[in-house]
Amino acid sequence: MSTLVIDHVSRWFGNVVAVNDITMTIGPGVTGLLGPNGAGKSTLINMMGGFLAPSTGTVTLDGQQVWRNEAIYRHIGIVPEREAMYDFLTGREFVVANAELHGLGEKAAQRALATVEMEYAQDRRIATYSKGMRQRVKMASALVHDPSLLLLDEPFNGMDPRQRMQLMDLLRRMGDEGRTVLFSSHILEEVEQLAWHIEVVVAGRHAASGDFRRIRRLMTDRPHRYLVRSSDDRALAAALIADPSTAGIEVDLAEGALRIQAVDFGRFTALLPKVARDHGIRLLTVSPSDESLESVFSYLVAA
């Protein structure tokens, strides 16, 4: 059982602040580090893994400094985002080398390869591997010494759905075994499916923390914006504004459409088609205009 403590950590590169005064505690189980691209997730993971010094603050694993402390890697397994991994070796040679660097041998390597189900391709050169296979061999190299903390940077990038499910199962199992597993992702669904606990980072700041239901509620309770075109925009607007689920409507003359702000997502989505039918109005376009993850995140930051 290991606990990773990030205490008032900031990191800047020149004038750019990549991580801004983040404090979080990562305990046993699976934690998802969620944030849009460029939010500072990789910077944060690099500091957690001891590959980057915090400009201020500290990162400790069970009370031990991570930065400039090689001995800490007895307890940490790292799955980096970058692809490069000694492509001239076979999968087995690569995992064996990783085991040897931990002072372990062939047996540990074989066990790790079995865990990720890569034995069937272990004697092929890594250069010939697909992205998912690479990811699994990386995973094996990180598991070879049975670490209590596992750090994974965007582990699902480029994986097909089946590989994604396999890796999720594996990470879930690691979490069930009492390991501290932290993975980063910019995809909400991935995090929601896998993580018990979510940490949201936006623009270098710690935006939210908690179990995924709380975060999900924050995300669905926000005002939703829709762009609607219909056979009679003004009549539709008049009918909709009477309902409390609609907070505001703007007639956009240039676009020839209505911009509707809804506060009660569930109620509004049921209301709109009903109102249209009752008034004999044909709906031509209904499109959410702020469903991008970035807008969800920026809402979370403001919340």
Binding site: G49, E100, L101
Partner: protein
């Protein structure tokens, strides 16, 4: 201080197909030149010394040193695969020292051995010319490896800087600016060769004691500093 797994990975990366071809090209050229010179002019001590000093020691050894020294670590840092070495409970100076040993071994094999062969072809080791230059090549292999390994650790453009040092500083400035010659691995190793070769066929601008001190100092300091740099190596993320 020495990790066999790090060494194995480094050897395999260094002697991968493309790099091995480049490493083999210059020694081959040296042998071809030596055979041609011997066939055209016959065995001559001065000519042998000119070829070994002018091409082998002044050009081939530093270039092989650049390829082996920077290649032992630079590409791993560039593509990020060094993370698999760094995320292990191994002292960072151990990684550097191991890579230094590998770089030295590769540089020696690809530069000192062909120098000896070329020397034997040119004048059959008359006046100890072949042995003198071989020893110079061995000695400079150590210093170049340490220097270029450090360069590979601190710079993404290590090969360019290395070649600039090897070709511009050692070859060009060395022949034009007298002061530059004192600060040249080539001159230091020539001081060693001078001691071994007969007559005044091999000359150096630096005395043997100075040369020895500088060779040792450069090797030790470069290795120590590379170890320190690796301890605080920052891996830039994709962001």
């Amino acid at each position: 201080m020495y990790d066999p797994t790090v060494a194995r990975l480094t050897y395999r990366a260094l002697l991968g197909r493309r790099r091995a071809l480049i490493l083999g090209a210059l020694p081959l050229l040296l042998i071809v030149i030596s055979v041609a010179v011997r066939a055209l002019t016959g065995a001559d001590d001065q000519t042998a010394s000119d070829v070994l000093g002018g091409f082998a020691l002044a050009t081939m050894v530093p270039i092989i040193g650049v390829i082996a020294g920077t290649g032992a670590i630079g590409p791993e840092i560039d593509d990020g695969s060094v993370v698999y070495l760094l995320s292990k409970p191994i002292k960072r100076p151990t990684i550097i020292f191991t890579k230094l040993i590998v770089a030295i071994a590769v540089t020696m094999v690809f530069s000192a051995v062909p120098t000896l062969v070329a020397g034997l072809i040119l004048n059959g080791n008359g006046q100890q010319i072949a042995v003198a230059y071989t020893v110079a090549a061995l000695v400079s292999s150590i210093a170049y490896s340490a220097l270029f390994l450090l360069l590979g650790t601190v710079s993404r453009h290590a090969v360019v800087f290395g070649l600039v040092y090897a070709l511009v500083w050692e070859a060009l400035f060395g022949s034009l600016v007298p002061g530059a010659r004192t600060l040249s691995v080539q001159q230091w190793s020539l001081a060693v060769a001078h001691k071994l070769a007969g007559g005044d066929l091999v000359t150096s601008d630096v005395g043997l004691p100075t040369a020895t001190v500088l060779l040792v100092a450069v090797t030790v300091l470069a290795t120590w500093y590379a170890g320190q740099k690796l301890r605080s190596l920052t891996l830039a993320g994709e962001e």
